[in-house]
Amino acid sequence: MIFRGKALKYGDNIDTDAIIPARYLNTTDPKELAEHCMEDLDPEFKNKVKEKDILVVGENFGCGSSREHAPISIKASGVKCILAKSFARIFYRNAINMGLPILEIPSVIDKINEGDELEVDFDNGVVKNLTTGETFETLPFPPLIQELIQKGGLMNFAKERLKGGKL
């Protein structure tokens, strides 16, 4: 999995109420959720993400609620992947389980500016900042999580597991 795109930057502790406020949780439709993604934090998000589709964020991204509507709305907005200093744990597993690519690379985030052109190679854990010419390497995911990602999420694994499959 290799993604290329421009960086859209936000800060620390972006919570799930900011990603998708509770007033929109009466639907599970990804398109409808995407309409309101991040709107309280940045009313321009919807337009910005058309051009800059790699989210680059600070510490504890996705803290708060367990609502999977949060990663769903981000994915449906057209975001290709998220790079963060760190993720809140429920958001982390929700993203992996539903197949939204994410990467924790704390030392790299401050070396990326909004609008920088990035290339993210998930198989090898390599992030290239094509604008500055810098290349960063990170530890790949543990095998279990890599396999979940390769299978396209937890539900595909569930189908195998029900037939007696193991990781």
């Binding site: 109420d17 900011a18 007033r23 949780l25 009466n26 510490e59 803290c63 809140a88 744990r89 569930a158």
Partner: protein, 424 residues
């Protein structure tokens, strides 16, 4: 090498002798739950798997507590998805309106969560049940769907942080203040991915309601789970409620912790978390007498239990809610509502000029039953004060214990409990 209570419960449910922090494991589950926000998504995922039964219909609770009583047509549709799924798959613990309570107050009260259990719930405050000596953590809808089919979940064994509290809490200082103090000290990601083990003489002397409040907010420090070793108070709480056998686990003396915090809280005052993070805390004497509020809210999975309502009633008795304030009280479950009625608490609230809602999560997450307008300020006994949490993105939420919320309702500004005369 010794093991923590969290490691022991996880090892037992993974069929292993021991587990180590960082290890990825699959664990079997004793009970799982979901609500009307996360449930419909879980059901959608479950039905994609293509099987015709859940793993065990007696191990699943479906609790439509967030947007109920149905706040609009779309929410009614979400509740209907849950209801129809419950019927189709014979889910034993489906709670219809009138019998439904706020999930994390309801399930311990019903005796469905027990010491030593391994629990997941599609709600971040599932960590509440650690107060019973269970491993319990919040997950998303996909995890829940997977667990409904296979009764297991993948987990990374967390490192544990030990919090030891010494001393004796002063009057009007509660479990809520202990956890707000803790989050204020370590920050909203101070325990990210970690188990938070709460111990010390203060914890040992706290009743279950305060312990549930403390573990409830572990997630606000980023914690995977909060946990308290069972003792006589725990066993007394579960003995007439338990619907199945359970096992008591304790941490070994030589168990290893990534950090140990030790605090003497004898001099702790009531704590208030300022907008817009639960870690943005001040003690009550540091706060000026000029933070005027539009709404006070007493309820939620954090502080909607009978003990919380008793504290609020003690302050409100014989007083009137300030003319500029709307006080909203939510008994967390039908049993608590009934008990509050029998004890005359509801009468005290109504005479003071409060509005009492049915059991619901509504106000806490800005869903319904008390949404804030632009520029409004609220003091709330809830767990989160993020931007827009209780309504308009330009509204503000201050978090406190029930005594501070009640005193603030009377005085119209954030106030200390001792500023209001207690009338016996």
């Amino acid at each position: 090498m010794g093991q923590t209570i969290t490691e022991k419960i996880l090892a037992n449910h993974a069929g292993k002798k021991e587990v180590f922090p960082g290890e990825l494991i699959f664990v079997n589950l004793d009970f799982i739950l979901t609500n009307d926000i996360t449930g419909p998504l879980a059901i959608k995922e479950f039905e994609n798997i293509g099987i015709d039964k859940v793993f065990d219909p007696e191990k699943i609770a479906l609790i439509p507590d967030h947007s109920t009583p149905n706040k609009d047509i779309k929410s009614a549709q979400q509740s209907k998805i849950i209801r129809e799924f419950a019927r189709k798959y014979n889910i034993k613990y489906y709670y219809e309106l009138g019998r439904v309570g706020i999930e994390h107050a309801l399930l311990p009260e019903e005796g469905l969560i027990l010491p030593g259990d391994c629990i997941i719930g599609a709600d971040s405050h599932t960590c509440t049940y650690g107060a019973l000596g269970a491993f319990s953590t919040g997950v998303g809808s996909t995890d829940l769907a997977y667990a409904m089919a296979l009764n297991e979940i993948w987990l990374k064994v967390p490192e544990s942080i030990k919090f030891v509290y010494y001393g004796k809490l002063s009057k009007w200082v509660t479990g809520k203040d202990v956890i707000l103090y803790t989050i204020g000290k370590i920050g909203v990601d101070g325990a990210r991915y970690k188990a938070m083990e709460f111990t010390g003489e203060i914890i040992r002397n706290l009743p279950m309601s305060d312990r549930l409040t403390i573990c409830n907010m572990a997630v606000e420090a980023g914690g995977k789970n909060g946990i308290i070793e069972p003792d006589e108070i725990t066993l007394e709480y579960v003995k007439d409620r338990a619907k199945r056998d359970f096992k008591v686990y304790k941490s070994d003396l030589d168990a290893s912790y990534s950090k140990v915090y030790e605090w003497d809280l004898t001099k702790l005052e009531p704590v208030v978390a300022f907008p817009h993070l639960p870690s943005n805390t001040k003690v009550i004497s540091e706060i000026g007498k000029d933070i005027y509020i539009d709404q006070a809210y007493i309820g939620s999975c954090t502080n909607g239990r009978i003990e919380d309502l008793r504290i609020a009633a003690k302050i409100l008795k014989g007083h009137k809610v300030n003319p500029n304030v709307r006080l909203i009280v939510t008994p967390a479950t039908p049993n608590i509502y009934m008990q509050a009625m029998k004890e005359g608490l509801l009468e005290i609230f109504l005479e003071a000029g409060a509005s009492i809602t049915p059991p619901s999560c509504g106000p806490c997450l800005g869903g319904h039953l008390g949404v804030l307008a632009e520029g409004e300020k609220a003091i709330a006994t809830t767990n989160r004060n993020f931007v827009g949490r209780m309504g308009h993105p330009k509204s503000e939420v201050y978090l406190s214990n029930p005594a501070v919320a009640a005193a603030s309702a009377v005085l119209g500004r954030i106030a200390a409990p001792w500023e209001v005369e207690v009338k016996e």
